[in-house]
Every structure is written in structure tokens, then in C-alpha cells.
């Protein structure tokens, strides 16, 4: 059923087509763009998921759901928010939970079947993430870059030796960070200036990386560096695997406005990286970076949307605490938010279903991201408003959660989603240019 209907939507766009015109900030918030060009208008009836039509498949998925649910009922941590009040506690909680999920076989469903817990279809992955969100267990943040970005990079582009060396270690808890963005290369990622100079068997790297998620806890780094300034800016980029404990690497956590330190800067001062740690050929790192960026398939936003939906109860609690139960204005605003969040769940679901069926359209992922990030802002803004002056007194924050009920912290944290992973404005450009086929700005602007 999926194939002939999918064909109606036209050809599949390639990631590199998109990345060529669009440099993104590849943080862990990133959503990939594999989609397709729309041949039909927006409001066309969307063909539906064959999951519902294949009984044996449905039964398998329901069996998996029961299995995950019973595991979570027994093992999901319930006290993780209290155990994540400091960064050290957060890291410990994350490592414990990741280890448990690895042993249970739910940490890396997207890996190949030769790894324990791997070989799951996207439909199965969706079931696992639905259950993880529904059980309100900690999101796997510390291991996110390792299990998605590092895995995809090594799996798609790494040498046999690199794969054998690094993939098993990820399951043992080795963590990775991304060294992509720089102070002068955010939305325009290909403008990176960090230099790698080949000297015998090593590259000597100098430069600065920024907005690297949890680099302060990372063992290894996926590093983009410039080996040549000739030709188009994408052409001189080389992809390296860097040991974070190598001499010359300095990590400085970034204190964010809500008190968290989710990101860090990385300073590179004559860091030597063996040539054997290069992924792909010299100067071909931009293509490898696409594998990194295409690693996440929309599960994160679906999971986060359902978590936000579950956290609507925090707003309801505020309404009751402040005696607004019969305030029609407040009820309306709450109603608007409820619908907005429900709609985000619906679009995140639809996006994944379309992926499962191979009928995504170009720009769909941008719509999901903007819809989620705006809903997250609206969610925290309503809580902040209803909380009133109480929220202006500093209260403890919870690491690793976006809907904590500390409304000031949540509100400020929501900016991470409108800025990182391709800013809201960059997503709008993609929607306008790629989905609506509006003209691109002329190249070669000089001011």
C-alpha cells in the first residue's frame, strides 16, 4: 500500500541537497531532513500507515509494547528528578539508566541486529519511545550523541577498525560530543575556521568549538576541521575523531540563563589527532557530516511532545492552586494550550508514520520542530504567567527535563529549542524554499 501512494509525492530529496544550501547547528536537538518534494497541495489526504492494516505486524508491535511496559513498570526510575538536582547527580542518573536500558535491550533499537537490542524497525522504535515517554522516565541525554550521531557516523562512514574499536564502547558507557558549531559558524556551519594541518601521521588541530552538548562529560568528540581553504567552503572540511583527554583540549562549560550547563566550549591548542582517526577522506568531511546529521529520525520530538502532553497536569495544578478553576479567560488559555500540544503530538506522530511508510515531504521535519518549539514556549509562558510573582523567586532546577514546573527555568530553557538544531528562522527558510518552492536569496551577498 505504501509504495504506490508514496510515489505520488515525487522523488526523494537527498540530504546533501539540503545541507548544501543550509548549514545547521548540529546539536543533539537536530532533526534530519530526508523528505521529499510536495507534488500535491498541503491539505491533501495523507495516505495512512500500513501498520493498521497488517494484523501480524500490529500484533508484534503490541507484544513489544507490553514487553517494554512491563520492564518499565519494574525498572523505570521514579525519583530521577530529585536525583538530578546537581550536574554530578544528573550524570550518575543518566549513566545508571542508560546501563539498564542497554541490558534490557531498549537503548539502541536503531542499531543493526548484531548488537543486543538492535535491528528494530522504525515502527518498533516508535513503540519503545512512546512507552519511555509514557512512563516518564529520564530521557537519554548523556548518551544521545553517542548512540545516534557517533553511531551513524561510524556505521555509515567509519572504517571496519573504527567501528570495532568504538561501537562496543558506546554500549559500555563511553560518551561522545559533537565539535561542529563555532562562534562564527552557527546556521552557516560550513564557515568553520578550526584548522587541521597534516604533519606526518597526525593532524595538528587549532581552533574553537562551541555549543557542544555535554562536552564536559564526553570521552570522544566528532570533530569537523578545515584542512583546506581552496574552493567552496564545504570542500576543505575533514572529519576527525578526537580524544577529549588529548593534550591541548580544554573544555569550558557554558553557564546558561536558567542555571544549567548543558553546553560547553572546546578550545583546541595544537591538539594532535592520529590520521587513523579520520573518517572518510581528507576534504570529504562535509559528506560524512550528513550521516551524522541524518541519524535521528524524528523519535526525539515525538517523545518530547508526548512528555509535554503528560506535563499539562503541571499547568492544571497551577490553575487549581491559584484558584482559577472558574476563570473563563484562564480556562480558554489553557484550552488553547491543550489543543496546541495535542496538535504537536499529532504532527510528530504523522511525521514518523510518513517516514515509516516512506512518504515524507521536504520540509516536514522543519514543521514538526517549529511546532514543538513554539508549543514548548507557550507551555512555559502560560505556567510563568499563572505562577505570577512566585516564579520570580529562585527555585531548584532539574537537569535533563524540559517540563519541570520551575516555570522560569522552563521558559528560558525553551529557547534552546527555537535556536539550536537549526533555528526557527532557518526552519522557516526551509519550509518556504523547499516545501513552498519560494525563491532563494541570491548568493554572493557582500556588505
Amino acid at each position: 500500500m505504501a509504495a504506490p501512494q508514496g510515489a505520488r509525492y515525487g522523488k526523494v530529496a537527498r540530504n546533501e541537497d539540503i545541507l548544501r544550501v543550509w548549514g545547521i547547528i548540529p546539536q543533539n536537538l537536530y532533526l534530519p531532513f530526508v523528505p521529499i518534494s510536495p507534488q500535491r497541495p498541503a491539505s491533501v489526504w495523507t495516505p495512512r500507515n500500513p501498520i493498521g492494516t497488517d494484523r501480524s505486524m500490529t500484533n508484534d508491535l503490541e507484544a513489544l509494547r507490553r514487553e517494554v511496559r512491563s520492564f518499565l513498570a519494574a525498572e523505570a526510575p521514579t525519583d530521577w528528578r530529585d536525583a538530578s538536582r546537581t550536574q554530578d547527580d544528573f550524570v550518575r542518573t543518566q549513566r545508571d539508566w542508560f546501563g539498564k536500558l542497554v541490558r534490557a535491550g531498549y537503548a539502541i533499537p536503531h542499531w543493526p541486529a548484531e548488537f543486543p537490542g538492535g535491528g528494530r524497525s522504525l515502527a518498533e522504535q516508535k513503540v519503545i519511545y512512546e512507552e519511555l515517554a509514557g512512563a516518564d522516565c529520564p530521557r537519554l541525554l548523556l548518551s544521545f550523541v553517542s548512540t545516534y550521531h557517533a553511531f551513524a557516523t561510524l556505521h555509515e562512514c567509519g572504517s571496519a577498525e573504527q567501528k570495532a574499536r568504538y561501537l562496543p564502547k558506546i554500549l559500555e558507557g563511553e560518551t561522545w560530543c559533537q565539535g561542529f558549531s563555532e562562534p562564527g559558524a552557527g546556521s552557516d556551519l560550513a564557515a568553520i575556521k578550526t584548522r587541521a594541518e597534516r604533519k606526518g601521521d597526525v593532524y595538528v588541530v587549532n581552533g574553537q568549538k562551541v555549543w557542544s552538548t555535554m562536552a564536559q562529560f564526553a570521552d570522544k568528540c566528532l570533530l569537523l576541521a578545515r584542512t583546506s581553504s581552496d574552493g567552496v567552503k564545504q570542500a576543505g572540511i575533514t572529519y576527525l575523531l578526537m580524544d577529549m583527554k588529548a593534550p591541548g583540549v580544554t573544555v569550558r562549560p557554558i553557564h546558561q540563563i536558567q542555571g544549567d550547563e548543558e553546553f560547553a566550549e572546546i578550545f583546541l591548542d595544537n591538539v594532535e589527532i592520529p590520521v587513523s582517526e579520520r573518517v572518510g577522506e581528507e576534504g570529504k568531511g562535509w559528506a560524512v557530516a550528513q550521516a551524522t546529521l541524518a541519524s535521528e529520525r524524528g523519535l526525539t520530538l515525538m517523545e518530547l511532545s508526548y512528555r509535554m502532553r503528560g506535563a499539562l497536569g503541571r499547568v492544571a495544578k497551577l490553575i487549581r492552586e491559584h484558584g482559577h478553576e472558574d476563570d473563563r479567560g484562564v480556562l480558554r488559555d489553557f484550552g488553547v494550550l491543550v489543543t496546541q500540544v495535542d496538535a504537536v503530538c499529532a504532527i510528530a506522530d504523522q511525521f514518523l508514520d510518513n517516514r515509516i511508510n516512506g512518504i515524507e515531504r521536504m520540509g516536514d521535519a522543519s514543521i514538526v520542530k517549529n511546532a514543538y518549539s513554539r508549543a514548548l514556549r507557550a507551555y512555559s509562558a502560560l505556567g510563568l504567567r499563572l505562577g505570577g510573582m512566585d516564579e520570580q523567586y529562585v527555585a531548584p532546577i532539574t537537569f535533563g527535563d524540559l517540563n519541570t514546573g520551575n516555570w522560569m527555568a522552563d521558559f528560558m530553557n525553551s529557547y534552546a529549542w527555537t535556536i539550536a538544531g537549526g533555528s526557527e528562522e532557518v526552519q522557516r527558510n526551509i519550509i518556504a524554499e523547499r516545501m513552498l518552492d519560494m525563491p532563494r536569496e541570491p548568493k554572493g551577498w557582500v556588505l
Partner: protein
């Protein structure tokens, strides 16, 4: 059973996007011929027995062309009669309506009183294309009944509206004696909830279809219209607005389809889909006029048709304030 895509394709072929607000009477004949009045009617009653997806797909397409024919109220009226198993003239009326006679459900409330002699007086509002109707399916003080427009004590009053793509009437009752009773008091709430939910989905689909057409038209114009030696579609400030419009439509449509397929969704949940779709439609058409500039203010350009339909749709079957409050109250109790 035919696939929904085929239904959509057939609708697009019969009502091409190039022809906005096609003639009401010709459309009606075409729709009756293609069986669209009967899509939701069970097969044993001579219908096509399709589910909510099918009517949603059709209403999307009819929204896209700003259809002037009253397909939504007609389908609802037909469903009401089909659901009234105890109605003595049920088969008779189903046959008449299948043949193209029109007995709509009103899309607004009624203000009615019942006198001690059982007669009903007052106003039934929101009767679309009342001049075509032989009767309306109305919720009277005692329950649902068919009100024939040629019955004693029944008169029809056109209420001119801003939206030129449709015509709206009041049915005024003055000492009307209900004879064609559809439900007793007990069956009334069940039928009301069922029809009300259906109406929400249908209106939501109309909004999404029309909003999509409005956006397509706006983007086409932005690509053609040149100022400062370039198409205005090149300006990032305007592109971002187009992207936001697209986002609103796609997200509202996702919620619509989710609720269409959720047979257990409550009326309030179905209304949420309508409110979101109608607000998206309003958002798009407000900007449609602005982005068209001066031409958007002229009567000869179709911008205003979209804007006026959006603003009317917001008011039909409960406005945003009413439903948002209910949604909020329900979520508070959850």
C-alpha cells in the same frame, strides 16, 4: 471499496481548483449524481457506508474550491434521519434525500419555546441555502424533528451574510405543530452529540482545504508580483510569514486526521480540531489580504472570499471562545 485517494481525485476532477465557488445548483446536481450525499449512509440504507475519512476528504476538497453547495448540512441532516430508527417515514425520506432533495441540519443554535398546546415558536438560525430546502432537521424543545418548510406556521427568512460563497437563512416558527418526530427526549442527546461531532470535523476539513488554497494562491501571487526589481517572494520577511502559514495548516490538519480516526474522541476533542483549523484558516486569510496588497482589497479578487468564509466558519457550531473554555475545563478535570 474505493480508496480515499480515488475519492479525492474524483473530487478534484469534478471541482478543479481553477474554478472558485462553482455554481451551487450545478455542484449540487453533480454531488448527488456522484453519491456524495450518501457517503456516510449505511449500505443497507442505500448509502456508500464510508467512514469519517471519506466525508472529511470530500469536505477538504469542497473547502478548497469554496464550494457554494451545502454538502455539510445536507450530510448531517441525512445522517440524523438515518439514525432515527423509530421515525415512521424514515425510508421514504431517505429515498427523497438520496434523490437530491435537501433537508439540512442548521449550523447555528435555535431559540424556541413550546406552548402548552404543544406548538413551537421561535427562530432556527444557521440554515444554509434555505431556499433549496424542503425541510430542516431541527432540535425542538421535545427532541429532534423534521420541520417541512411548507408546513403551517413555518416561514423562511434570508439573513444576508458577508460571505458571498454561501447563503444563510432563519427558519421562523410561529405556532408550528411538530409531526415528523425523529427522537424522543432520551434519544436527543445521543443524536446531538453524534451530529455535533460530525459537524465539527466537517467544518474543520472545510477550513483546512480552503486555507490550503488560500496559501497556494498567496504564494503564487508573491512569486509573480515584482517590487524593487525582484519577486516579493524573495524577501525573507515575507517567506517566513508564508512558512508560518504553512506550519499552522499542516499542524491543524494533522490533528484533524488524528481525531477523524479516533472513534472514541469526544465532541470537545473533535471541536478542538475545528477550532485549530478555523484559527489557522483565519490566520492564513488575514495575511492573504495583507500580502496581496491593494488588489486584495478589491471585490474582483477572490482574497475576500477566503477571508469572509474563514470568519464565518469560526462562528459556526460554537465559536473558539466557547470551545476553548470547554477544552480547558475538561483538561482541568482530567
Amino acid at each position: 471499496m474505493i480508496a480515499l485517494n480515488e475519492l479525492t481525485d474524483a473530487a478534484q476532477k469534478a471541482f478543479p481548483a481553477s474554478s472558485l465557488s462553482p455554481s451551487r445548483d450545478e455542484s449540487w446536481g453533480l454531488a448527488a449524481e456522484m453519491g456524495w450525499l450518501m457517503v456516510r449512509l449505511p449500505e443497507e440504507d442505500g448509502g456508500l457506508g464510508f467512514r469519517r475519512e471519506a466525508s472529511t476528504a470530500l469536505h477538504l476538497e469542497m473547502g478548497r474550491v469554496l464550494s457554494a453547495m451545502p454538502l455539510i448540512p445536507a450530510q448531517l441532516g441525512l445522517q440524523a434521519i438515518a439514525a432515527s430508527e423509530d421515525f415512521a417515514e424514515r425510508e421514504d425520506w431517505l429515498e427523497r434525500l438520496a434523490g437530491g432533495e435537501y433537508a439540512p441540519m442548521p449550523m447555528l443554535g435555535a431559540k424556541l419555546t413550546r406552548a402548552s398546546d404543544g406548538t413551537v415558536s421561535g427562530t432556527i438560525s444557521g440554515v444554509f441555502e434555505g431556499d433549496m430546502a424542503v425541510a430542516v432537521v431541527a432540535q425542538l424543545p421535545g427532541g429532534y424533528a423534521l420541520v417541512p418548510l411548507d408546513a403551517p406556521g413555518v416561514s423562511l427568512l434570508e439573513r444576508p451574510i458577508w460571505d458571498p460563497s454561501r447563503r444563510l437563512f432563519d427558519v421562523v416558527l410561529d405556532g408550528f405543530t411538530p409531526a415528523l418526530i425523529l427522537t424522543d427526549a432520551a434519544g436527543t442527546k445521543a443524536l446531538h452529540d453524534r451530529l455535533s461531532g460530525e459537524a465539527q470535523l466537517a467544518l474543520a476539513a472545510d477550513c483546512i482545504g480552503a486555507a490550503g488554497a488560500a496559501l497556494d494562491m498567496t504564494i503564487e501571487y508573491m512569486k509573480i508580483r515584482r517590487q524593487f526589481d525582484r519577486p516579493i517572494a524573495l524577501f525573507q520577511a515575507l517567506k517566513h510569514r508564508a512558512a508560518d502559514m504553512k506550519t499552522r495548516i499542516v499542524v491543524a490538519e494533522a490533528l484533524l486526521w488524528k481525531r477523524v480516526r479516533d472513534e472514541s474522541a469526544s465532541v470537545t476533542e473533535l471541536a478542538a480540531a475545528k477550532v485549530l483549523a478555523a484559527e489557522a484558516f483565519r490566520f492564513v486569510t488575514e495575511d492573504m489580504v495583507q500580502l496581496h496588497g491593494g488588489i486584495g482589497l478589491t471585490d474582483e479578487h477572490p482574497c475576500h472570499l477566503f477571508l469572509k468564509r474563514a470568519l464565518l466558519n469560526l462562528q459556526l457550531c460554537g465559536n473558539a471562545d466557547l470551545w476553548n473554555e470547554r477544552i480547558g475545563r475538561k483538561a482541568l478535570q482530567a
